[in-house]
Amino acid sequence: MVSALTRKAIRDLWHLRGQAIAIALVIASGVANLVMAKSTYESLQQTREHFYREYAFADVFASAKRAPQTLAARIADLPGVQTVQTRLMSSGNLHVTGFDEPVRAQVLSVPKEGGQPELNQLYLRAGRLPDPDAHHEAVISEAFASAHDLKPGDAIDATIYGHREHLDIVGVAISPEFVYQIQPGSTFPDFKRFAIVWINRRVLESALDMQGAFNNVVLRLRPGADPAQIVDEVDRILARYGGLGAYARKDQLSDHFLSEELRQLETMAKLFPTIFLSVAAFLLSVVLKRLIDTQREQIAILKAFGYSGFDIGRHYLQIAGLIAAIGTVLGIAGGAWLGSMLAGVYRDFYRFPFLDYHLSVLATATGLIVAFAASCVGALRAVAESVRLPPAEAMQPPAPGHFQPSLIERAGLARYLSQPNRMILRSLERRPWKALLSVIGLALACAIMMVGRFQENAIDRMIDVQLRIAAHQDLSVDFIEPSGRAALSELRALPGVRRVEGVRAVPVRLRYANYSYRTGLSGLPQDASLRRPVQADLSPITPPRHGVMLTDYLQQLLHVHVGDMLQIDVLQGRQAHLEVPVAGFVREYIGAQAYMDLDAMNRLLGDGDVVSGALLALDDGPTVDVFARLDRRPRVAGFSERSAEIGNFYTTMGQSLLVFTFISMLLGAVINFGVVYNSARIALSERGRELASLRVLGFTQGEVAHILLGELVILVAASIPLGFAAGWALCWVMAQGLQSDLFRVPLVLLPSTFAFALLTMAGSTLVSALIVRRRVAHLDLVAVLKTRE
């Protein structure tokens, strides 16, 4: 049996439906964000754990130039090591029929005797593992396979260590090692131009000339073992064999990206729901206050009949609760839908055998609790008032509001103000807190509108700096091993090549005081023009003849300053330990590297005047002809195009950015609409009598709407500068949240972003205004003559 008060609550809600829906939508947006982020987080986290466990993802990774297979036993004997899997690994180039551009590949061995490796096992999406007795069978990574529509039964050509191999594709697989399939050193994944290829160890052995040896080893540790300690031990063991520095799982590229993604989802699960639910609480507070004001007499009568203050309070809380319930239900449904959409995006970027997205019970419960808590907080003040209201006083109409000339008038500007404008200003000034909170709500809407565009601006800037301002080469070429300068002359002699610059990259560990970081050290020539790192002001700089230049992010990471002596452990060749002064910092948004003058670097490393690769400027840009010639050079391990990287980015990321911009615009519009519409409706309810009187006195609908909407226009206008500031701050918070050694998101807000926020604000204000304007047309002019206030 539904109590009379509950019926009243439901009918009151029906009466307030426009405002209730606006508030419920704001709550829904907050809950949807929370549910989406938390559910996706949980799904991603669980899927990752499950996949890592089931497919034996390694804990420690190490590469060496060439280590005897007998070393495996020594590594296995290390305390804390459970499983050791040695492998062969090489880079290569692939040739896909019908695709003329270079495709880089990371080639990995699977055990000679067939079957799955012990660690980093493959999940076969199609086909099977290579037959140990067959010579030309390969398994390729799923992302690459689907980018080129390759299936078992198709064939590709590969150049591995100068050997051309014809490979029959027998399987398509996913590995825990390459959930995020990105080429080391790349900005974004490129499924068309980067592949993982697994072939039988015997085949790779002969191609690399590695009989009885390995160049890559992965370890599984016993529970409780300290990866850092094992990393050190492995480094020590491999040092004599050209060890390239071991690292733990958290530094593994794919895992690192995944962890960053999870961190972002966590931030998102906190930031946006907080904003939306705060705004919802404010709106509920205002709407309930107004409802209670208009129902003073009803409250008095209920109390006179014996309802307690508690009953009355509960009644109004029930209304808030119903709104919260509607919002929560909508939010959970919306969150589930958005979450599955986001999971779809993740499925494209992160390759799991399965990504079982499910609506998290915890997220749903959190959404429910948070939404109700926010609603209660919002409702509290108004409800407390209803509880306190003495019945006798409630029978009387509320005292007329006290007004005074507004600040502008007191400043002597009264004569410039018409009476309607005075009404607007005085009404605003009478309740400054309400006005301020409305302005804050609107400013948050403006801020959210800016976030979507900010991502686009930031990524444009990252690409610009990394791939346009600091880099000018058409192609970058990697050599199989460090080579003398003659290798450059060889490239220079190729037709179509305009300029060649030799570069050298070595893996290093940078150390300063207690801080250390594993990265690459690049040697650039003094007369470099194809690749020049930039300073903070984006002007290019050439590394000085002495000292090392670091990506500015390393300044924070290593706590170094210009002039400090940096320890550099070279993780290659003679494993030199160097001490080099920090000469300066360069601005980079992707990766965190160190740069030196090439000659100085070669002198310090002491292994001759060599380069590990070259940058090429071409007469006619990258052409099939050049690709074919490069592919025939035995020294060339692989090459990649700069323009492809840029183009690839915009095609892969463009769509998801568009979706993100759309979503944030929608969310911003929800808040904007929620605040503007509610403010207007409440103003209309509070001043309906006044406005109807003016209509009776001969004011037109437009003139009356001016008084009503003028106040809103002022609030919206006041919110814009604050909104720009809040938008800047929100983007700053997001950019801070996205800082990592993988990439830094620069705080770039272009004028178009501000204009976009302004226009969308104006647009959604206009829509709210039009709705309210229609109500002005229906003001009951007759009733106003007969009712007291």
Partner: protein, 240 residues
């Protein structure tokens, strides 16, 4: 007041009928009212609650339209006028006084009058209007600082400031005690006398009828009686 001026017709209504559909029942507020109002006349509409007084006043004032019949103001048929024309009609020609004053709380006395003079064609100043109702010493007070009688006199000043052709007062003393009510009626009387504004006052207070030129009795949606006061009683001499 000269007789010939009295005969100049301002309003003419013929067969005014108004039916409100309230759910399943029809409420007949007016059942065929014929009437004429003349320039400079002070007419009191007398009748019990539900007799149709307010409905008639609202139709005359362009706030409502009849279900049947016609009403002409100065030869213009108001019943065929649209919303925009009715707004203009009210803006130019009609002054309203309400039972509950309906002042704008955020505006001072002067500004409450000015809000009308700002949109009128040939208004008097707000100060002059307030002087006419004897409130020139309260011009900068807000409604919350004034008594009910004072608020109603501001409402009258607001209504007459645009020099309307007609002043329509719906129970102007309904919310006031008799002494205060008389001061308000004095203000209405003086406006009618000095500006020659055709004035209609609705009341159910029989005593007030004594100040009118003409009294129309309404009952059950019809004019059930009409009397012309041979001698009028000044507002200050009324009592109830």
């Amino acid at each position: 007041m000269p007789i010939e001026k009295e005969r100049e017709r301002v309003f003419r209504a013929q067969g005014l009928t108004k039916v409100y559909h309230m759910g399943d029942i029809d409420v007949h507020a007016l059942r065929g009212v014929d009437l004429e109002l003349h320039r400079g006349e002070l007419v009191v509409l007398l009748g019990p609650s539900g007799s149709g007084k307010s409905t008639l006043l609202n139709i005359l004032g362009g706030l409502d339209v009849p279900s049947a019949g016609h009403v002409w103001y100065d030869g213009h048929d108001l019943t065929t006028a649209g919303e925009r024309e009715l707004t203009q009609f009210r803006r130019r020609h009609v002054g309203f006084v309400f039972q509950f004053y309906n002042l704008i709380p955020s505006l001072t006395a002067r500004e409450n009058v000015a809000i009308v003079t700002e949109i009128a064609d040939d208004p008097m100043t707000a100060e002059e209007a307030l002087q006419r109702v004897g409130l020139d010493d309260r011009m900068d007070h807000f409604p919350s600082q004034l008594s009910g009688g004072q608020q109603q006199r501001i409402a009258i000043a607001r209504a007459i400031a645009k020099r309307p052709s007609v002043l329509l007062c719906d129970e102007p003393t309904g919310a006031l005690d008799s002494a205060t009510g008389i001061r308000v009626l004095e203000a209405i009387e003086s406006i009618n006398a000095t500006l020659g504004t055709t004035t209609v006052v609705i009341t159910h207070n029989v005593d007030i009828a004594r100040m009118a030129h003409r009294v129309l009795h309404l009952g059950d949606g019809r004019i059930v009686g009409e009397q012309t006061n041979a001698t009028r009683t000044a507002a200050k001499d009324l009592s109830w």
